[in-house]
Assembly symmetry: C2
Homo-oligomer: 422 residues x 2
């Protein structure tokens, strides 16, 4: 029986008609290998931004339902154009929107979760030898309403389709060559990983490696769909395969190093040490839908019977959080609130660190030798994170990348500017 | 019971977000009158042209199905934005695409005809007090394929919705103030007609008055839907009402004068006068889906036993027609094919000419007095058309407009350049 391969191309891969023709080549290449091919595409380049801008021109607060009606048109354009490009190269293809496929979601707008994917029409069209081009990011409800999946939506569409069709693989085509041991723009001899486990990829995604949205990796892990991250513009490079940890031989304790500059540290100082104060604080943040990342509560000072509660939140949530800090401070009877924006969270990730207790110590020592002050620490099974000054971020990443022997003999060929880490 | 009013706004009325806000005002104005309102919109301004350009960049001959997938996104954008604009003015509204309404068409792409419109969802939403914003131009098949209606599609959507909902009226909002006795850019004191019959409107549309597509007028006539043509940008002007002839008092023999510059005259010279030659000629054109307008076959010349067959076709069909002329000429054993591109069809239209035999004579005399040569004539119940040299078009229209007493005391306030009639 034929293998089914799901391919996903993001907005930059289909940004203009010339790029769409190149994507058609990548699709046909897979078809020529004898596979059944289902392609998921996002909206072209800046289409979504443009649509959002028009909506904001019209209303400061457009309804979620109408935003979904509006944004879903973006993929409608790209699936039709890609299908025409495949036809122009004499291969049979058909475009299907979410309603035509039957990508069923919950009845929630702008961040719906997929609950079922009908495969009848897909299987029929594959049987006819057609390449199927499916609109990513969108879904439909039982009542025929159009929904969108929110952040990481098209990746999630692709993985969910692969799971529903029991595909052999889901290839996520993007503008990078795969998953690296760290950002190659910071460390030029970063190594491209041939394989990485879902778990490691999830942790890397959470700490700032922008290759895949965690949601799509979660879905791939749940349904055990092999995921491949590869470049649209270098088809000879197979990229990085993401699979279950149990299917991998683990040689190295650490797989990757990442710096996350999107966090802000908040410290509530001298909070009276009475029961329920921490619950009150984090409950208030949770009520506003603000996620908290690292948390440290100091031991209570004996003299004042107060302690400090420090935590980090995402920059995007800062404005919302700030508006309730004064109230929380009064509720908690805290002395002051300190904000620190110039921080970076440096993380090492690796499924191999589970049985090796020395890894954390090596990380702390490496930073100490460079006189880098660690402000907060958090650990879980396969990740260790340290909060440092932002100006120390690049130095930290380089040193950790070296000490854990992640360097390649080759210099990565990476486009794009060096991220502003200092 | 509440009246249902269907409104239709074309691409120029929703060309940008500011114009969309003005359209929202026009919609709310109708709602405030106590009516249930269903609004049909086209794609924004040049969206369709832009989408077609991208398709042509990708493929010289894109598939009809994928063109429909592509073009239908245009109305998807405008219905969502208009709905947001109505929300922003605190009125309840919901956008629905053709699939959500259930605008069922035949299974033909790019020129589908509507076969049924489901009214269940529409009636439910109207009952909830919502203004409904429907995507024009598009439909769907029983199998969930997306179709488009071709030329005049959005007008037809609006009229068909009005018929299905038994609406009291269908208002076609456009950039002109209504239907005039002739093009006010040619004759500044043309009169805006308060009322005109479907039949007269149909003839005017066929001979180049670009206010409404004949198809929508046909549909309105068939279901007896009162149509109103009015300006989006001057809501105080009620425009022109188009109704059945039996509902009108007819005072004047001639209602309008129009010049159609879109025709080309073709003459097959010295065609042997044998049975079946005309059938062969027009059969060959019909096989290529080329419509023929005026036809004249001369009496056979006794000396050669041949005759000339002259006819007119639309400019858009010329390339296609030309490619088969040589073959037809040989099949018919004709001597030559002459093409005349510099022609204009001048028509007078009026339900009142039925019982007045002098009208045609007046038309011919008027042109003769100006030394204008009439190349072909065609007549039907309520229209008389004469083919003249293109350079005589403007002069002809002015003279006929005057002789049939169509002049107004006011100068029409019309935007736009004078059409290139000479």
């Amino acid at each position: 029986m034929k293998q089914i391969i799901v391919q996903k191309f993001g907005g930059t891969s289909v940004a203009d008609t010339d790029k769409i023709k190149r994507v058609a080549d990548a699709v046909i290449r897979e078809k020529k290998l004898g596979n059944d091919v289902v392609v998921v595409v996002s909206a072209m380049g800046h289409t979504t931004d443009y649509l959002i801008k028009m909506a904001k021109d019209i209303s400061p607060n457009p309804s979620a339902r109408e935003m979904d009606m509006l944004l879903s048109t973006g993929e409608g354009v790209s699936i039709a154009l890609l299908t025409m490009a495949i036809h122009a190269k004499d291969y049979d293809a058909v475009s299907l929107n979410a309603m035509q496929v039957g990508i069923m979601t919950e009845s929630v707008h702008q961040k719906a979760r997929i609950i079922d994917i009908k495969t009848e029409r897909l299987r029929k069209n594959l049987k006819q030898g057609k390449i199927i081009v499916v609109a990513g990011f969108q879904g439909t409800t039982e009542c025929g309403e159009i929904t969108t999946l929110g952040r990481g939506g098209s990746d999630t569409s692709a993985v969910a389709l692969a799971a529903a069709l029991k595909a052999s693989r889901c290839d996520i085509y993007t503008d990078v060559e795969g998953v690296y041991t760290t950002d190659p723009r910071v460390v030029p001899n970063a190594t491209r990983l041939d394989k990485i486990s879902y778990e490691e990829m999830l942790e890397l995604a959470r700490v700032g490696a922008n290759v895949l949205h965690p949601r799509s990796v979660e879905t791939a892990k749940q349904f055990n769909v092999p995921l491949r991250v590869r470049s649209t513009f270098n088809l000879d490079n197979l990229g990085t395969l993401i699979i279950g940890a149990k299917d991998m031989e683990i040689y190295q304790p650490v797989t990757g190093v990442a710096a996350d500059l999107s966090q802000i540290r908040v410290v509530f100082c001298d909070v009276p040490d009475v029961p329920g104060n921490a619950a009150r604080l984090f409950g208030a943040l949770s009520d506003e839908n603000i996620s908290v990342d690292m948390i440290i509560q100091s031991y209570a000072r004996k003299t004042t019977n107060t302690n400090d509660i420090a935590f980090t939140i995402h920059k995007d949530d800062y404005a919302k959080a700030k508006s309730i800090f004064e109230k929380i401070k009064n509720d908690l009877n805290a002395r002051a609130v300190h904000i620190d924006e110039d921080i970076a969270k440096i993380s090492i990730v690796g499924a191999g660190m589970v049985d090796r207790p020395g890894i954390a110590a090596t990380m702390f020592e490496t930073l100490a030798k460079l006189n880098i002050n660690i402000k907060m620490i958090s650990t879980s099974e396969i990740i260790i994170s340290c909060l440092v000054e932002k100006e120390d971020a690049q130095k930290s990443v380089k040193a950790l990348h070296k000490i854990f022997e992640l360097e390649s003999n080759e210099i990565a060929d990476v486009k794009g500017d060096l991220p502003d880490l200092e």
